[in-house]
Subunit: 503 residues, 2 copies
């Protein structure tokens, strides 16, 4: 079967066959200044042909768009768009070093959003409506509806509301993936119903994305795999963090607060969260479940080992090895997996109802437990808040992990007198873990929190100075003792000397 | 009818009649070091006899408790408890100047919580379980169940789980109040169901609080009205804030985003929020509804005027005049009012589903729209976060109001380079209003937010310095430009010189 035959078999709605054009042609259909809603969540299921073609077009022509996606994109798409000045505004998440540079230079306006809220804000008219949707599809059914690929993100909403739709049919994804998606679009307030999910397995929508076929202006054919995740091996610090956390869970089980199945897990992306999940492979835990955003390698390792019985997410973002294994064996995962729109995977009501254990990564936290997830040095954006706020606020347990110190000679302490940017307030943080230890903050007042955090989580090189800060701040009094003159002294010292250390 | 007769008629469950004792005797039943769960939400429906008697006992004897309530208490109860060193820990909210002093001196450990989360944390075992509940009742029904008074707060949960219960039967509250309460207790995760509220009027529980009558260890008789709210008259600034906001709502209606019925309103306590609501009396708005925590005078003025058709809250906290009018005419309000447990009035899922317009008061906000609702000078607690986070995070529109500047010669600017404490991050703030004007931040990146906030909300005396800060910060770059060395210069200058002004 030639590649083209195989593509045509994937378009089961004949009227679309006349709309097949190249990616470059489709890119010309995107008006300058348009608001584009594109599929893609953490490199998975993104537009791999049309958006890159638009970036190429922008290299030759003065065109730019507002780009709304699920989350970050794969390939070099965000970088190419930024390099060619093709982005006016970007939301709700990104994780690209070149786009990041443009954002920090003020060239691209970045709106960093809770991932559950983008559809809310579009639906409420708080942000401009999508002019054109670009959605990657595994295939198109006989009604002209889309079967998505490896993520859902905001795709179902974009396709429902956009007056113009471009579909990328990607035959690198096996047709048998159909059935893992659960698409739905919320009603507007105040006509909205409860989200009827009472178990991580509950399906509430449809395997396809509904749309008005008359809105489809182009179909583009592609054969490109998702950009693989790069997962570095666990190191001494991530292993230490994982051990502290697994020990904590065991203690909670011993106290009768949890069973060895725990409660549904959420884990942020990255090597620390992945290492924690991998740690469950060797412990006494069993019948684990996940209600998360991104399903990473560790999810599939836990499913393969029999430790995890079900995982719900909004995207599958895995390494090349895991990706190949998954796509070749998709049938055996289908009753253990579900992909949902991100307003559902991250819905406060479902997170609170199910009682999620949320594990997310902090850039830094302070002695009172306020967490910075997004900014370096108080001003420079790293990636974005993503779904960490959706989960941290509503979780049964809100856990943040980071290394106690990093860089050469531990020049950076990740525990500070005061964080330089707040994404999660102390109200929303239950447990903090570094390689040094774990701080259980539940039910503690700020001064009690400071004691536990300084004692358990701080790198030894910084412990004395933080203790001294806290003791002197207490003399000035206050519920949350601080010396505003000194609150950022670690950050300022680093900027001036290249290390947070005094000597 | 003597007072005692009238009381005995209110105890329709005979076994309790043998348990009637004085408040002083009941106070002796509270063990030292106990965790006490008491009724009371923003001065309404609080323990007016037993807790004050416990404070008296603590004046003579070395006893102290952890006190969990709905929110703040009336009379001088929190002050007396603090003065007599009777509080080890206090949660989830307070608003008393003497208790505040003890908290800021580190004498009382205060755990400032989102008001929706106290029951979550108790149920999940994150905070110690309640040893003894003290609940104010209008009367006790034939099953020994409690009909609450002017608030629900966390009472239904406390009465369900506490192994010992003291009931205060207060016959200052008319029996006819029965029917406005909607009590319920959530199941533990993961067995929990969706909260089936799809309209502000929906009732999902029972008019009484269920309990095990065998757990009732004492019944105390009282005849004490709630401590009235003190509402200062609207002044020039609050009227200006109200006008800006009402104008904004009219514009939203003209754009077709809202109707003149708006969406259900939430308003924080205090004169600014009250003035905004009072402003609806004279505008084109109609068929308004409320889904809030505290129902204040303005709610009843709007109901009386026919402008508001229904109000849902967790307490009724009004001035003496309004209180008398309400209690005398409770029957005519009963089909327009409902009181709910605070985990329901403040439930994220209901707030997001109904699409609430949330109006809360800020102590200060910064040029990027981060809000401080709780701390003075970065360290001293004022009251607490209350429900502002529950609403701001999940609302259709999250609005914060404050005066642009205050004190003699406008020595304090309420718009700062950086807030000294963050309760609500920029992600959760849509609209900021001061007497100077309104900043609509929806869909804006941080640099765009700063432009609008500085232009619209800042007092003229501080505009140039904030502009200068922002311009110089931009030169250092960053998504959220800041100069950490100067970020708190307004606060530090105020501490040193008594004014935030340079001259």
């Amino acid at each position: 079967m030639t590649k083209e035959d195989s593509h045509l078999e994937r378009i089961k709605f004949n009227p679309y066959k006349d709309k097949i054009i190249s990616a470059a042609e489709a890119a010309l259909l995107i008006p300058d200044q348009a608001v584009v809603g594109a599929s893609g969540f953490t490199k998975a299921g993104d537009s791999k042909s049309v958006l890159p073609a638009f970036a190429e077009r922008a290299a030759k022509e003065n065109v730019a768009i507002t780009l709304i996606t699920g989350a970050s994109l794969g390939q070099t798409t965000d970088a190419d768009l930024a390099n060619n000045n093709a982005l006016i505004k970007r939301m709700p998440f990104q994780a690209d070093s070149i786009l990041r540079k443009s954002i920090n230079e003020g060239k691209v306006k970045y709106v960093d959003q809770h991932l559950s809220e983008t559809i809310e804000q579009l639906q409420e008219g708080h942000i401009p409506q999508v002019d054109i949707a670009i959605i990657e599809a595994t295939y198109i059914d006989q009604n002209g509806y889309i079967i998505p690929t490896t993520s859902i993100g905001n795709s179902a909403y974009f396709a429902t509301v956009a007056p113009k739709i471009i579909i990328e049919v990607n035959n690198a994804i096996p047709i048998s993936i159909c059935g893992i998606h659960d698409n739905c679009v919320p009603l507007e307030q105040p006509r909205r119903a409860a989200i009827p999910i009472h178990n991580v397995k509950d399906k509430i929508g449809e395997s396809f994305i509904r749309l008005n076929p008359e809105n489809v202006i182009a179909v583009v054919l592609s054969n490109i795999e998702d950009t693989p995740a790069q997962l570095s091996e666990p190191d001494e610090k991530t292993i230490a963090i994982s051990k502290h956390l697994l020990h904590f869970f065991e203690q909670e089980v011993k106290k009768g607060k949890l069973t060895y199945s725990l409660l549904p897990l959420q884990a942020g992306i990255g090597k620390v969260a992945n290492a924690v999940l991998t740690g469950f492979l060797h412990g006494p835990f069993e019948n684990l479940t996940m209600y998360s955003e991104v399903l990473q390698d560790s999810t599939f390792e836990l499913i393969d080992s029999g430790k995890m019985t079900f995982a719900s997410g909004s995207s599958i973002t895995v390494t090349q090895e895991c990706y190949s294994r998954l796509l070749q064996n998709i049938d055996q995962y289908k009753d253990k997996l579900i992909l949902r729109p991100q307003n559902i995977s991250n819905a406060p009501e479902v997170i609170r109802r199910l009682g999620i254990i949320a594990i997310n990564t902090a850039i830094e936290f302070d002695i009172y437990g306020n967490v910075n997830s997004t900014h370096i040095g108080g001003n420079k954006m790293m990636n974005g808040i993503g779904g960490s706020g959706d989960f941290a606020r509503n979780a049964y347990l809100s856990i943040f992990v980071t290394q106690a110190a990093s860089k050469n000679n531990n020049a950076i302490s990740h525990v500070l007198p005061m964080v330089s940017h707040v994404d999660h307030t102390e109200h929303d943080v239950d447990i903090l873990v570094t390689d040094q230890g774990l701080a259980d903050l539940r039910g503690l007042s700020p001064r009690e929190r400071a004691e536990v955090i300084i004692n358990n989580c701080v790198h030894p090189d910084y412990k004395e100075e933080l203790k001294d800060y806290f003791e002197r701040a207490k003399k000035q009094g206050g519920h949350t003792p601080h010396l505003l003159e000194e609150a950022f002294k670690f950050h300022i010292r680093f900027k001036e000397t290249g290390t947070m250390k005094t000597k």
